[in-house]
């Protein structure tokens, strides 16, 4: 059953990201060139382990202060000035990792200073103080659809008249703890990801990423016109085998996108079953829309992927050229997978989707004048 999408349009006053390839403009340029940020790296960092594809902003080891703080300072310097964290201009922080790598470092080193920013709320509190935000900070975490939920929440705050502007801020940095977990599931393995490719073995990469967006009630050249959210609640890690969750979410966002000429930035991690189901359902709803995905270059930035890839989608539209599926191969799961970059001029919108453990699915409609 498909739940109708939230159609609460909000303007995007600012949006930026940070990846191992640089800011949104630099990352967009690198994706157009087919650059892979992923590098084969020992899964447990300095502790070694099998080589797996990781895209990192720095060595994967938890330092004091945590390695992500300097990168987030760099990103936060680009947030437009406002009294962020007050009732009319709240902050929504989204992450699936927060400072979990520091908890791993604590178990390894027994240095209590790691714990000070290891838990989700301690990690956000560090950012709040660092960036001078007030107390109105909402924290969201729901696996890999986290940023989508944060953006949808911000749209609801704006439409309910509870805020004038909302800063949505997302960050996820890979740690040995998280890389080791995905490696245990064997979906992070010795292969580079090839999103949507029909091949014998699936593989994902993981990546560092952070991003922010400032949302307003006023329209702008770019706005988020709709959000579709669906949770099939089938299993912790598995999708409903027939793809019912993918279908419900795709149908809802397709109904909201009716009449628009869209391209699609899919989730496309590189796993086989989810890739097949995702590509199949998106093709069913959008047979004429090219489908692209960028995790074959940047790796999966987990809970932040929705916001990182929103910033990249905006950079792509601004630049007039949409990057193709880096790392993709032919044959693909559906006929609309774009392996090469394509001209953005023919479109007036984009569907951006994400899928998560727990059978959670999300999509948003990015529109522009």
């Amino acid at each position: 059953m498909s739940v109708p999408a939230d159609q609460l349009p909000v303007g995007i006053a600012a949006c930026e990201c940070l990846t191992p390839l640089g800011d949104a403009a630099a990352t967009h340029a690198a994706l157009l060139a087919g650059t892979r940020a992923l590098r084969m790296t020992p899964v447990l960092g300095r502790e070694g382990g099998d080589p797996v594809p990781l895209a990192l902003l720095g060595p994967m080891d938890e330092s004091l202060p945590p390695r992500w703080l300097a990168d987030l300072r760099r990103l936060a310097a680009r947030i437009p000035a406002a009294a962020w964290g007050t009732s009319r201009t709240p902050v929504v922080v989204t992450s699936s990792n927060f400072g979990v790598g520091s908890l791993h470092a604590f178990t390894r080193d027994r240095d209590p200073r790691h714990v000070a920013h290891g838990t989700p709320f301690a990690s956000v509190e560090l950012l709040r103080k660092e960036f001078g935000w007030g107390e109105q900070v909402h924290v969201f975490s729901h696996a890999c659809v986290t940023a989508h939920l944060g953006l949808a929440h911000a749209a609801r705050l704006l439409h309910a008249g509870l805020a004038e502007r909302v800063l949505v801020f997302s960050y996820d940095f890979v740690s040995p703890f998280v890389a080791g977990g995905f490696h245990s599931l064997k979906i992070l393995n010795g292969l580079m990801p090839a999103p949507y490719a029909v091949r014998e073995t699936g593989a994902i990469g993981l990546g560092d990423g952070a991003a922010f967006a400032v949302l307003t009630r006023d329209g702008g050249p770019f706005y988020i016109a709709a959000h579709a959210l669906h949770n099939e609640m089938y299993h912790f890690t598995g999708n409903e085998p027939a793809g019912a969750g993918f279908a419900a979410c795709a149908a809802a966002i397709a109904a909201a996108a009716g009449g628009r000429r869209v391209w699609i930035k899919g989730h496309g991690t590189g796993t086989l079953e989810a890739g097949r189901l995702e590509a199949g359902e998106l093709f069913r709803q959008f047979p004429d829309a090219p489908l692209t995905g960028w995790k074959g270059s940047l790796g999966h930035t987990l809970g932040s992927c929705g916001l990182v890839e929103l910033a990249l989608a905006i950079a792509a539209v601004r630049g007039g050229r949409i990057p193709g599926t880096v790392g993709g191969e032919s044959p693909a799961f559906s006929g609309n997978v774009a392996l090469q970059s394509f001209d953005g001029a023919a479109y007036d919108g984009a569907v951006l989707s994400a899928n998560a453990f727990g059978g959670a699915h999300a999509a948003m409609l990015l529109a522009h004048d």
Partner: protein, 88 residues
């Protein structure tokens, strides 16, 4: 049960997953391990089993597809372990 590896693997499954209602010899060699209504194992159990098997036998399962194929039954699991450790 003639192959001692089969009993070793069944014992490992019962112990790793705390299957209190099962004795190792209650698990037929060809019964599906994952998705079987009788055993009730799921993908989280599969993750635990893979780690236990890698640790006990010193084998490496390379991908989720390989893991799914190896864990089809005790019989396929024994064949997988033996393909990497012929003396197991």
């Amino acid at each position: 049960m003639s192959d001692p590896l089969l009993l070793q693997l069944k014992t490992l499954v019962v112990a790793t997953l705390n299957l209190a209602d099962f004795r190792p010899e209650d698990i037929p060699d060809e019964e599906p391990l994952i998705g079987s209504p009788r055993l009730g194992l799921d993908s989280i159990d599969a993750l635990e089993l893979v780690l236990a098997i890698e640790k006990k036998f010193g084998v490496k399962i390379g991908s989720s597809e390989e893991s799914r194929s190896a864990l089809a039954s005790i019989g396929t699991l024994a064949a997988y372990v033996r393909s990497q450790k012929p003396d197991a």
